[in-house]
């Protein structure tokens, strides 16, 4: 088993991008570069599926570890997966081909460049989820800014320049402190290798500052209240495929970072800062849900709902219980699927009517019945109806929170109700109601490729809603190990005075 499967996963999209870049195509042959991109991303998906099947879910260690010297005597290129990261890789490779399929309708100019940007972005995203060295992680984490900046800036809407700048500078500002922290960790412990750091541990007296430095980066990326304001702008202006990638995967990098680095490396500091995270998460859940209620732009509404959902994720992670962390991971995967689907749904109607204002729609159910059905599934998934994947995640998070703090859990539960309110109201205003806008009557129902992409997302949402076992199975051992390894339970009990 010497085949470097993870490096292949990382490199394959870049090779595809180079291929598209160097093969000259005239304008009429755009389709061919799309086929190449689709082929590459699908190959990557099957490769990661194979990885998931071969992956031994009962072992706590990192698997498929590859290590080679990179910056001599300092940083090694090291990648590997455990039960947590493999799911995110799978999510990435699953969402990217869907984005590639949708480009036809949304991207009118420079399709080739767009595909290259998406493929390069996929490389960086997979890299983030499997890097086992802090410097390598930082490299991939930051590098993702470049293609996303271009995707928003070149193919975005009217205020794309403002949004692209805001996105780039916010995230960069958040991340620079993380770099200082990473280098400090190197000088404190002598390594940036995550596995070795897990074994060595970091002296408690350094942990708080280092935790804050990592937090500044992840909080912006998550995004947590009050640094979430870049997200609605970026989502509104980005093209559909960009919004999908942003919501489904880029936001998850931060959640993944919280679990892998904040909890894993700084358990004492994580515990110390629990009240801070609880507060910010609760504000995010309640406040952004209320904000979402008032939105008139569909994409903005979904963007704010993303902030609220990510509030559940951070809440769950910092309960530091088995259920809480599992629930957060589940919620991230589920939100990855649901939010991707919702943005695609918005894209579908936007391509037809060229507006995202909710009040321009209404009565779609009689014009686009097929659309109404899939949109309903996603709406229910977003509000966490039992039977959809959204429910499992929120339920586990709330269960974990109840174990720790009943008040926090109660307030967070309010968020579920608000979530139902804004999602159902959105659905009502778009799908039901009177047909007032004449243009809406001319809209055609879903085309074939739209049906394919949307149903591809419906299936896992329903499937994992009824049968979450495969996902839970995959993360169970790793999460339990994470909790054991850092004695999170013991620390918890001490804190509770038991």
């Amino acid at each position: 088993m010497n085949f470097p499967i993870l490096s292949s996963l990382i490199l394959l999209p870049t090779i595809g991008a180079l291929f598209i870049f160097f093969v000259r195509t005239s304008n009429s042959q755009y389709q061919s570069s799309k086929h190449v991109a689709l082929f590459i991303t699908l190959a990557n998906f099957f490769l990661s599926l194979y990885l998931w099947i071969v992956f031994d879910k009962s072992i706590v260690d990192f698997q498929f570890v590859e290590e080679r010297e990179w910056i001599s005597g300092f940083v090694n290129y090291k990648v590997g997966v455990d039960g947590i990261s493999i799911l995110f890789i799978l999510l990435t490779t699953f969402i990217t081909p869907i984005c590639v399929i949708t480009v036809n309708a949304t991207i009118k100019n420079r399709l080739k460049d767009f595909l290259i940007a998406i493929l390069i972005l996929e490389t960086f995203m997979i890299g983030v989820f499997c890097s086992l060295d802090l410097v390598v992680f930082y490299l991939f984490f930051e590098a993702g800014l470049i293609p996303m900046f271009l995707i928003i800036g070149i193919w975005g809407g009217e205020r794309r320049v403002y949004s692209a700048f805001k996105f780039f500078l916010y995230t960069l500002l958040g991340s620079v402190l993380m770099l200082v922290a990473i280098i400090s960790i190197y000088w404190i412990t002598g390594t940036t290798d995550v596995i070795k750091l897990y074994e060595l541990g970091i002296d408690a007296k350094y942990q708080n500052l280092l935790w804050l430095a990592f937090f500044s980066s992840f909080a912006v990326k998550t995004p947590m209240w009050p640094v979430h304001t870049w997200l609605p702008d970026a989502h509104v202006e980005a093209p559909t495929a960009g919004s999908v990638l942003l919501a489904a995967i880029l936001l998850k990098m931060a959640g993944y970072g919280f679990i892998r680095f904040s909890l894993g490396l700084f358990p004492d500091a994580s515990l110390y800062f629990v009240p801070l995270v609880y507060t910010l998460s609760l504000i995010a859940i309640i406040y952004t849900s209320l904000v979402a209620l008032m939105q008139e732009d569909m994409k903005k509404l979904i963007a704010y709902s993303s902030v609220a959902h990510m509030g559940f994720v951070t809440l769950g992670i910092f309960t530091m219980t088995q259920q809480g962390i599992e629930g957060s991971i589940f919620q991230m995967i589920s939100h990855g699927l649901v939010s991707a689907a919702l943005f695609l749904c918005v894209g579908v109607v936007y391509d037809r009517l060229h507006t995202r204002l909710i009040n321009r729609y209404g009565g779609l159910v009689s014009i686009m019945p097929k659309y109404a059905i899939v949109f309903m599934v996603f709406t229910l998934g977003a509000l966490g109806l039992p039977g959809t994947s959204g429910f499992i995640g929120e339920f586990l998070v709330l269960m974990g929170t109840f174990k720790k703090n009943v008040l926090v859990a109660t307030i967070a539960s309010l968020g579920v109700i608000l979530g139902a309110a804004y999602m159902l109201w959105l659905y009502k205003r778009i799908i039901f109601g009177k047909l007032i806008n004449e243009d809406v009557k001319k809209m055609v129902d879903l085309k074939r490729f739209e049906i394919v992409t949307l149903w591809l997302l419906v299936l896992p949402i329903i499937f994992f809603g009824f049968y979450p076992e495969p996902l839970i199975n995959s993360i169970e051992v790793s999460v339990a190990n994470m909790i054991d390894m850092n004695d999170l339970d013991k620390i918890n009990k001490l804190a509770l005075g038991e």
């Binding site: 910056i71 490299l139 470049i146 900046f149 070149i154 320049v161 700048f165 960069l172 770099l179 200082v180």
Partner: protein, 471 residues
């Protein structure tokens, strides 16, 4: 006599200067030929340097001239940059009608001066080299004498640079007065005790050197000179004098003044922070690309100084890595600038780049790579340059410097992004010419490839630089 073997490259360049001068005067219309011969002689000088035995670490001429690993590496860097500058700007000087025989010869003189600076181990030798390079640069800056801006920049550079040379010389005389010697090693031995006069001497010398690498607050000349000079001279200004001045900086701080670290460390930290922050902020409002790159290079010099301020060999090595990558990035940037040509006219305003990506996708792609690299975004070479600096700085627990430096990169990212925005997001304008000479294309492709592919094998340069030792 056997000492002479070690300075063959310098001797060769001196002989070529004299030969080309005579050749150019006696043969009519030979400017292009002289230019090409200059390039060839630089290549030959490079071969001579590489050919020297690497093991030799010796001091020549009564210990006043050093041939060591630092000098060797910096000279290779210097001459390589010189060759690429010559290759990329040959077309420019023809079109701008400054193709005269003096031009390449002045460049050679200046390079010779820098080589002397790099190797100097004595105050007087150092000053000799400095003046040789500066005098040639004054003339080069105002070479386009019919152009008002060029003349102005030459004069401005002359006045301010002469002032700084004066300060430097005064510092040297103070040092000599208090240490009774002009030899660097001897100064270190004789200055174990701190005296006020000595501190003044150090300050004057540092101010003079800060002038040469345009560190804030001694940067005033840089934007005007960068903008006013012909672009072919600007690229020369942006690359070569920086190498020489940084080497001299390293030599001064780490040989004669090494024991007096407490005296100069705060000064260097101040210069570094001021340059990083000021360079980043002042560049935001610029409209001219050359002026913008002047501020950007001020900011970059701040990072290089941050490495020096640590007082460790690791810091010095990180600065050398930084300057190496900085050179490549600037070379790539100026190559792009040389390509913005339409009807025998060069364009240098940021607005001229508007919508470049639609008409010139490859050129815009290399600009994109260069600009993101200058901003220090991974995985491009510019990130690694900054990374090494911060590794060295944080190792010395200088967190304040590191955090200010990183925040300055965020500010700097803004103006680099602004250029990218204009290239990629804005409506297109008229096409530029797409035919360029081979040397320019080669320079651009090679430097862009270096920036892009650096992350694949970052150890290569670091390994070479980690061999460099200062006594």
């Amino acid at each position: 006599m056997e000492n002479l073997q070690l300075i063959i490259p310098e001797l060769f360049i001196s002989i070529m200067i004299m030969f080309l001068l005579i050749f150019g005067v006696f043969k009519k219309n030979s400017s292009q030929l002289v230019y090409n011969l200059t390039t060839v002689s630089l290549v030959a000088a490079l071969a001579l340097i590489i050919n020297l035995d690497t093991q030799i670490q010796s001091s020549l001429f009564n210990n006043s001239y050093n041939i060591d690993s630092l000098a060797r590496f910096m000279k290779i860097l210097l001459i390589l940059s010189g060759i690429f500058v010559m290759l990329s700007s040959s077309k420019y000087i023809q079109i701008s009608k400054i193709s005269k025989i003096e031009y390449p010869i002045l460049i050679l003189c200046s390079i010779l001066g820098m080589m002397v600076m790099i190797s100097s181990n004595d105050l007087i030798v150092f000053y000799m080299g400095l003046e040789l390079q500066s005098l040639a640069l004054y003339v080069l800056a105002s070479f386009n004498r019919d152009n008002l801006l060029s003349t102005e920049s030459g004069l401005k550079y002359f006045v301010l640079s002469a002032l700084s040379s004066g300060l430097l010389l005064y510092g040297c005389s103070l040092i000599y007065g208090f240490s009774e010697t002009t030899n660097f090693n001897q100064i270190m031995i004789n200055t174990k005790e701190i005296e006020y006069g000595l501190t003044f001497g150090i300050v004057f010398i540092l101010v003079g050197l800060a002038f040469k690498i345009s560190a804030v607050p001694f940067h005033m000349w840089a934007p005007d000179v960068y903008q006013g000079s012909p672009t072919s001279v600007t690229v020369f200004f942006a690359l070569l004098p920086k190498i020489a001045a940084l080497t001299v900086f390293i030599r001064f701080l780490y040989i004669p003044f090494y024991e007096l670290g407490d005296q100069w460390q705060m000064i260097i930290i101040f210069l570094s922070i001021a340059s990083m922050v000021f360079g980043a902020i002042a560049a935001i409002g610029q409209k001219n690309l050359k002026r913008l790159i002047a501020y950007s290079s001020i900011s970059h010099m701040g990072y290089a100084l941050a490495g020096l301020s640590t007082g460790t060999i690791q810091g010095v090595q990180s600065s050398i890595t930084y300057i190496t990558i900085y050179l490549v990035m600037n070379l790539a940037f100026f190559s792009c600038l040389f390509m913005l040509k339409r009807n025998n006219e060069y364009y240098e305003n940021i607005d001229d780049l508007s919508g470049l990506s639609k008409n010139h996708p490859l050129l815009s792609l290399s600009l994109l790579v260069v600009l993101f690299s200058l901003a220090g975004i991974p995985p491009l070479a510019g990130f690694f340059a900054k990374f090494y600096i911060f590794v060295a700085v944080i190792n010395e627990k200088m967190y304040f410097l590191a955090i200010v430096g990183l925040l300055a990169t965020v500010i700097a990212a803004f103006y680099y992004l602004r250029i990218i925005k204009i290239i990629y997001f804005d409506p297109e304008k008229e096409r530029f010419e797409s035919k360029h000479n081979l040397g320019l294309k080669f320079t651009l492709v090679a430097s862009t490839f270096f920036i892009l592919a650096y992350f694949i094998y970052p150890s290569g340069i670091v390994d070479i630089i980690s061999q460099i030792n200062i006594n």
